[in-house]
Amino acid sequence: MHNVIYILRRELSQYLRSPMGYIIIAAVLAIDGLLFNAWAVGEGQRRSGEVLEMFFYLTSGPTLLASIFIAMRLIAEERQTGTLVLISTAPVRDYELVLGKFLGALTFLSAMTAMSVYMPVLVMLHGKVSLGHVLVGYLGLILLGAAALALGLLCSAVAPNQLIAAILGAAVITVFVLLWLLSRIASPPLETLLGYLSIHDKHFRPFMRGILSVQDVVFYLSLVYVALVATTRVLEARRWR
C-alpha cells in the first residue's frame, strides 16, 4: 500500500501546483453559488429542507462535470507525456497505480465539494434542517463523484489522449445519468436494469432528501469497484500489446 500513498500524494501535489486544479475549483464553486442563489433560494418561499434538497440536486451537475475534467488526465496525460513508463517500469502493481490515482482524484474532488459547505450552513442558520441531512447529502455528492471519477478513469486508461478521454468520459457518464429515460421506454426486465444502473435519478435522490440507504451506497461502491478493476485490466493488457 506504500505505492498507493506515494501516487496519491503526487496526484494531489500536481493539482495544487497546476492552474488546472484552481480553475476547476473556482469554476465549480462559482456555478454552485450561482445555481444556489438563482434556483435553490431564489424562487419564492420554500421550506428549508426543500432548499437543501434543491442545493444538492443543483450541485450534483457541476460535481459530475468536474469529475470528467479531473479524471480525463489521470492516465491519458501520463501516457501522452511518457511518464507512465516511469511507473510501469517500477515495482508498482497496476492496481496500486489505479487506486493511487483514483484516491488522489477523489480526495481533491471531496475537498472541492466540501468548499461549498457555506451554502448548507446558511440554510441551517436561517432554517430548520438537520446536520444529518447535510452530511448525507454530501456523502451522496461524494459517492456520485466517486462513481463518475471511476468511470472517467477507465475512459482515461482506454483513450490515447486527454481530449478523447474527456469526450469518452462525458459520453459514458451522460449515458449513465440518462439511463432512467431509456428505462421508461424499455420493456421489462431491461426497464428495471436500466433504471437501476442510472447513477443519478435512482440512487442520488434519496441522499438529496437526507435519506441514507445502504442499497444506494452499495450501488455506488460496486460501480466504483467494477470500473477500477476494469481500469486495472486495461493497464495490464497494454503490456501484451
Binding site: H2, Y6, Q14, S18, P91
Partner: protein
C-alpha cells in the same frame, strides 16, 4: 544478469523482434546496435517489463520476468529515449518520488543526495524540472534510473537530442555507471557504442545478426586478414612478390612517391610471418607492416547488409 530465451514480440502481424536469445554477465556494458526500427527499443521495453514478449522468456538476476515482475522491476533502472519526468516537480521531489516507487524505503534523502552527487545535479536539486536545460533533464532521468542502486540499467538512446558538449558529459556519466552496474545501452550511433561498450549485439529486422567485441565481430564478417604495407623499392618488385606469395588473396597499390610504395592486401589467414619473410628476401626495404582493423561502421554495414563472410577490399578503411 540477463538471460533471454527465444524472445519474440509481435505488434499485430509484424514481428518487432524474433527469437532473441542471449546472456549478459553481471558488470558487463553491452551495446545494442541497430538501425531505426531494428528492434532495439522493443528489446529494452521487454527487458524493462514494460512489454511482455509474445513468446519466449526473460530472466533477470535469476528471476522470471513473467512470474515475478515486481521483483524483477525492482532490480532494473530504465532510461527511456524520451525522458519520463514530471515537469512541475523539483529535481529533489522527483528523485524522492522515484526512489519511493522503486521500493526504497530507508534513508531516501541520503540516496537522493548520493545520486545527485554522482550525476552532478546537486546545484539544481531545488529547481523545477521544466526550468532545466535538455542536458540536465537527461541527467535527472538517469538519476531516477539509478537512485535505487539497481543491478541492471537499461539506456535507450541516452544521448538522443543532446548537443555535442552534453553528449560528452552524458557519455562520461554512463562510463561512471559501468563500475557498479550491468548496463545495456541501445544506440544507432556507432562511436557511442565503440566508446562505451565491452560487447555489442547487432540487431537487424528484429534479429541478432552479430554478437561479440568489435574484434570478434570483425572476424565474424571476414575470416581473412587485411594488412597495410609500405616498402622502399619499385612498384613492379612489390607487385611481383605479392603475386608470388600464395597467402595473398588480393592486393591494391595505394600510392607511390619518393621511391616508396604503399599497398593494402588481404591474406587468407594469419600468414603475416610468411609474407614478411618474402618481402625481406626480395630485398624490399620494409618500412611499415600493420594490420588494418575494420571500423565498427564497416562491421555494422557488413552485418546488416548480409554480406558477412564476403571478402573485403576497401581502400577507404583506415589503419587502426
Amino acid at each position: 544478469m540477463i538471460e533471454a530465451e527465444n524472445v519474440t514480440k509481435y505488434y499485430g502481424p509484424h514481428a518487432a523482434v524474433r527469437d532473441l536469445s542471449f546472456k549478459i554477465a553481471p558488470g558487463e556494458v553491452v551495446g545494442l546496435l541497430g538501425r531505426n526500427g531494428a528492434g532495439k527499443t522493443t528489446t529494452l521495453k521487454i527487458l524493462s517489463g514494460l512489454l511482455l514478449p509474445t513468446c519466449g522468456r526473460v530472466h533477470i538476476a535469476g528471476l522470471d520476468m513473467q512470474r515475478e515482475p515486481e521483483a524483477v522491476r525492482a532490480r532494473i533502472g530504465f532510461l527511456p529515449e524520451r525522458p519520463a519526468l514530471y515537469p512541475e516537480m523539483t529535481v529533489a521531489e522527483f528523485l524522492v518520488f522515484a526512489a519511493h516507487i522503486k521500493g526504497l524505503h530507508g534513508n531516501v534523502r541520503a540516496a537522493v543526495e548520493r545520486v545527485a552527487a554522482s550525476t552532478d545535479l546537486c546545484e539544481v536539486l531545488d529547481e523545477r524540472i521544466d526550468t532545466l536545460s535538455n542536458g540536465y533533464q537527461r541527467r535527472v532521468a538517469i538519476a531516477q534510473a539509478v537512485v535505487h542502486e539497481p543491478g541492471l540499467i537499461l539506456l535507450d538512446e541516452p544521448t538522443s537530442g543532446l548537443d555535442p558538449v552534453q553528449i560528452v558529459h552524458m557519455r562520461k556519466l554512463i562510463l561512471k555507471l559501468r563500475r557498479k552496474h550491468t548496463v545495456l545501452v541501445s544506440s544507432h550511433i556507432l562511436g557511442e557504442i565503440h566508446q562505451l561498450c565491452d560487447r555489442i549485439f547487432v540487431l537487424e529486422q528484429g534479429r541478432i545478426v552479430g554478437v561479440g567485441t568489435e574484434e570478434e565481430l570483425a572476424r565474424q564478417v571476414s575470416a581473412s586478414m587485411k594488412l597495410s604495407v609500405e616498402v622502399r623499392g619499385g612498384r613492379a618488385a612489390l607487385e611481383a612478390v605479392l603475386r608470388q606469395t600464395k597467402t595473398v588473396q588480393h592486393f591494391a597499390i595505394d600510392g607511390e612517391h619518393d621511391g616508396r610504395v604503399e599497398a593494402t592486401l588481404e591474406l587468407a589467414g594469419d600468414e603475416r610471418a610468411e609474407l614478411a619473410r618474402a618481402l625481406v628476401q626480395a630485398d624490399l626495404g620494409l618500412l611499415r607492416f600493420e594490420r588494418v582493423h575494420l571500423e565498427l561502421e564497416n562491421i555494422f554495414l557488413k552485418l546488416t547488409s548480409g554480406e558477412a563472410g564476403a571478402s573485403l577490399v576497401s581502400a577507404k578503411e583506415t589503419a587502426a
